[in-house]
């Protein structure tokens, strides 16, 4: 009964969406907002990567919200799994000591990943990539040792502080503009950062700084999530 109705519903949804397809102007959308931004962004924000301009300048508050969601999720995961952190000593015995190659490879990879991560973050406003992608790479870079060497732990306190400060940094940059009487998150409020030369690293006002904050924040949150879940007490293992 339940399955039939579920199928019915899914079918209904598919039908609805298919019918909509005939009505929606896919491929020829009006792009009112998009065209406006495409025209204005190079002059107004000065980024090469217009997606970054949208993310950090035009829709900066969305990004802030998104960081907050990640933070919330991480905090909740911490609450859910962290309550039994004293059990984390009881490691999962199923993880066998890792192979020499993997551990060496991870040692080699880690600095590389960190560099790549930061590169992606810093050039986010010019080329594809940015805080999110770079942040993920950072997170994975820091998590690699945990994965390859089961004994390693990551300091939760450090993560907490980084994520807190990075998030606060994002907001502070926004509030900084308010100090100058500009609206919240306005990227150009002072000659201090200047507009820079279009296409150079130090351009687009506070955007690189914001992306750095985003990158650190995302990196810290995701690393935190990974670490917390990896340290979670295992359910009674059903070994065969």
């Amino acid at each position: 009964m339940r399955n039939i109705s579920s199928l019915l519903f899914s079918g209904g949804l598919a039908f609805l969406l298919l019918v909509l397809a005939t009505q929606l102007p896919f491929g020829h959308t009006s792009m009112l907002l998009g065209n406006d931004i495409l025209q204005a962004a190079p002059d107004e924000v000065g980024t090469g990567n217009i997606v970054a301009a949208v993310l950090l300048a035009y829709r900066g508050i969305d990004t802030l919200g998104e960081l907050a969601i990640l933070f919330t999720a991480a905090a909740s995961v911490g609450l859910i799994l962290g309550q039994r952190s004293n059990h984390s000593a009881k490691r999962d015995k199923t993880i066998t000591e890792s192979h020499f190659i993997t551990s060496r490879a991870s040692d080699l990879m880690m600095p590389l990943l960190i560099i790549v991560g930061f590169y992606i973050i810093f050039y986010g406003h010019l080329t594809p990539g940015g805080g999110f992608q770079g942040g993920v790479i950072l997170a994975i870079a820091f998590f690699l040792p945990v994965l390859t060497r089961p004994g390693t732990t990551i300091d939760h306190g450090m993560i907490t502080i980084i994520e807190g400060l990075a998030g606060a940094g994002f907001i502070m940059i926004g509030l900084w503009a308010m100090l100058y009487g500009k609206p919240f998150l306005q990227p150009f409020f002072d000659t201090f950062l200047g507009n820079g030369i279009f296409g150079s690293l130090w351009s687009a006002g506070t955007l690189p700084l914001l992306y750095l904050a985003v990158g650190l924040k995302v990196g810290a949150e995701l690393a935190g999530l990974l670490v917390t879940i990896s340290e979670a007490p295992a359910a009674e293992v059903e070994r065969t």
Partner: protein, 86 residues
């Protein structure tokens, strides 16, 4: 171009079905990783490099890592066993 896209979409939908139908959960996680990867390809084909990068890093990489780790913690990390575990 359209054939490439069609092929990727086909792969994506097939692995999406596999996510639901494969009895082994590890395989399901792997399939979902394939879905993410094909999606990333699609995003790239749609001229959305940022999204493609993100999807590849988060969807295919991090998310699969999370799922796999959780699977291990759940005690369901059993490659050889068909199971729809309780």
């Amino acid at each position: 171009m359209i054939w490439i896209v069609s092929f990727v979409v086909f792969i994506m939908l097939a692995s999406a079905l596999a996510v639901l139908l494969l009895p082994n959960l590890i395989a399901a996680v792997a399939a979902s990783s394939v879905v993410s990867l094909s999606l990333a390809v699609l995003f790239a084909l749609m001229k959305a490099p940022d999204v493609a990068m993100t999807e590849a890093a988060i969807g295919a990489g991090l998310s699969s890592l999370l799922l796999a780790m959780a699977l291990r913690r759940l005690g369901l990390w059993q490659l050889d066993k068909e199971q729809e575990s309780k």
